[in-house]
Symmetry: C2
Subunit: 212 residues, 2 copies
DNA sequence: CTCCTTCTTGATAGATCGCTCTAGTGAGGG
DNA sequence: CCCTCACTAGAGCGATCTATCAAGAAGGAG
């Protein structure tokens, strides 16, 4: 309780006065963790590197994340997973119809990929594959994020009039197409797979809407 | 030349006479590398662990793979990638028609996943994501494998009468669905995503065949 | 037999890993 | 005022990482 209040105060008065990167130390550590894990994976990223990127003291990692690297990984998965879900929601809210929303989401993903030199694809897929057979806490964190994405997309399609069972299938298809295309795009350094997968997803959603 | 001849002889006379696992030392190292990389990723797998699994002397890794772990990774990617392509070819050759082949491939993948406790999915996806932004040699190796898969699937669909351009799109869609479903299956420990992705792939292939 | 090459074997170097520990800093409360 | 405590700061620990090296075993060629 007190700790949370302190942190909130600290955030506002920018403690210490030093001109560091914006955000609290905890936030900066979490952000750089998420970024590095996304790009190089969990085991491929050292804690030293994380604090260097975050311009944070090494000891602060274990102050804010007593569970160590694993807790850091779990929180990074959850927060960046939630962020990605909000990204889709934002695009969906602005799009004129459902197929457009899907198409724009894939197009936006391709744009991000090119802008970041094919580094930023799915925020958690790399870690999810790495830890699926080695760390239950991290595997569960990624599973929960994926399940929330599926649930969100299912609700979105269902709201457009598609039966829930079919909507859930659509959600899995669309997200599988996206994740799979990410794998190919990053390895081959081209957005062609994402363009094709996007077109396929749009077509499938369109067909499901026509049926309903 | 001489080295290759020697290795072939060595393979047959099972040098040393010790009752090790079958295959040459080089083959065993490559096999256990491929298996461990597939399950825990590249950075998550140590050379010590590889030789322990392969029942091979530590130094032999650097005798057969002077390029070290990176060369080991590249060769593992290429050989297991080629093996996976042959698996699809085998299934395709036995299936009565194209949609059946696709459906059986997805079903077989799901079966393997359950049998290996969700460990063995795509042989190279985990490594591909990990190294895409950190090692050009490994990234290229995975890109070449993916490209060969796409080329193989494109030729297969084209042989069934589908126009080449459409066939290539189908290949990307099918493999994206597969790779994406693998990510979800491993994290969520269920084959539901693979079943849905498989049905979607079969439907898309069927529609393309109907057009042609 | 000796010489030569191939391959085995493990000790070890040097770097880096995740993590712990202690000391120090500075703002808020009594 | 001083005391408290959240946070900063980084040296250092043991373990593990990749890679090298020197010594030796085994079989073929002369």
């Amino acid at each position: 309780m007190a700790g949370i209040a302190r942190a909130t105060i600290g955030e506002k008065i920018e403690r210490g006065g030093k001109a560091k990167a914006p955000g609290t130390t905890r936030e900066r550590i979490l952000e750089s963790s998420a970024e590095l894990f996304r790009r190089q994976g969990y085991t491929g990223t050292g804690v030293k590197r994380i604090v260097a990127e975050a311009r944070a003291p090494f000891g602060s990692v274990y102050h804010f994340f007593p569970g160590g690297k694993e807790q850091l990984g779990a929180e990074a998965i959850r927060t960046s997973g939630a962020l990605y879900a909000r990204l889709f929601a934002t695009i969906a809210a602005q799009a004129p119809d459902v197929p457009s929303a899907v198409g724009e989401f894939f197009a936006g993903a391709a744009e991000t990929l090119v802008e970041t030199d094919y580094a930023d694809a799915c925020p958690i897929a790399t870690v999810a594959l790495e830890v699926a057979s080695t760390s239950e806490p991290l595997r569960k964190a990624s599973a929960e994020v994926f399940e929330s994405w599926i649930a969100g997309a299912t609700a979105y399609f269902a709201a457009a009039g598609i039966p829930v069972t079919r909507a859930r299938e659509l959600a899995f298809s669309m997200l599988s197409l996206l994740e799979g295309a990410f794998v190919f795009c990053r390895a081959m350094r081209t957005t062609e797979p994402l363009a094709i997968a996007g077109a396929s997803a749009v077509a499938e959603v369109g067909a499901a809407l026509a049926e309903a």
